[in-house]
């Protein structure tokens, strides 16, 4: 299976995300935000970072990139999986590819630490590193078609303890925690594998 990681201007987790995908068994390309041909990719990943310096709001400017239009077209073909990690999740929400929005953390601090999560009855630990990760949705019923990745101890004031969500219909996942960081770093464990294994299952 072939994956790509989008290197937006200001993305800074591209290399470790690509390395994780290699470890998970994908062939990986790194592409930039101007790419419009995503035909050859099964998995498209928007990595963490500070696209366009988080100007105006996190992910706000990146949503106007040509690759975002290409992702919207790719989703219609129903033959791929889209993953947004941290800033990637923020971009997907800003682009209305996923529902909701990410607001500044309730405590006004940049939070960088491991958090306990639960997804599909599995508990695991992944690191977060963000200032704008407080998930907001105005009506939880809008997420009835989504599986939720939830914090066990909400660190940032996210509504309904939401750390991430998976839109089953469109096969789009966004999450604030970084699965790649707990996959390729030996002393951090391999809990990130849970996310990559899930993606591989969904692509079968």
């Amino acid at each position: 299976m072939k994956a790509c990681v989008i290197n937006f201007l200001g993305s800074n987790c591209v290399d470790e995300t690509a390395q994780s995908l290699l470890k998970a068994g994908f062939f990986v390309d790194i592409i930039n935000q101007n790419e419009t041909n995503l035909e050859r990719y099964n998995l498209i990943v928007l990595s963490g970072g500070f696209s366009w310096g988080d100007y105006v709001s996190c992910g706000r400017i990146a949503k106007f990139s040509p690759v975002i239009s290409a992702i919207k077209e790719k989703i219609k073909q129903k033959n791929s999986f889209i993953l947004g990690i941290c800033n990637g999740f923020q971009i997907l929400c800003e682009a209305n590819i996923l529902l909701g929005a990410l607001l500044e953390n309730e405590n006004q601090k940049f939070i960088s630490r491991d958090v306990d999560l639960i997804f599909k009855n599995k508990t695991f630990k992944l690191p977060i590193a963000h200032h704008q990760g407080r998930y907001y949705i105005d009506d939880i019923d809008k997420l009835k078609d989504c599986d939720l990745i939830k914090y066990q101890n909400n660190p940032n004031g996210s509504y309904y303890d939401i750390a991430g969500l998976y839109d089953k219909k469109n096969k789009v996942m966004g999450l604030m925690p970084h699965p790649e960081r707990n996959y390729i770093t030996p002393f951090k464990g391999e809990d990130g594998k849970i996310i990559f294994d899930f993606i591989k299952e969904e692509l079968k």
């Binding site: 105006v56 400017i61 929005a101 500044e104 953390n105 405590n107 004031g157």
Partner: protein
Amino acid sequence: MKTFIYRIITKLKAEIKNPQGEVVENIVKRLSISSDLKVNTGKFYEIKIFDDNLENANKKIEKISKEILTNPLIETFEIISIEEYR
């Protein structure tokens, strides 16, 4: 060609918790300046539009404000002033 200068404020919707505003409230209370206040925060933009008429310029600024400066799920915008120069 005229120059229209728009001043725009964007802010979080009232129903959304605004931690920055709460931080300002708390420091005001701690300094005993006021014990009864409510603070909301936002962003300020000054945008110059070069166009022949105000109607066209207004349309452009509406589009900019709705699509770039705000996310309608969480934010609102208000045009607080328009200046016109020849």
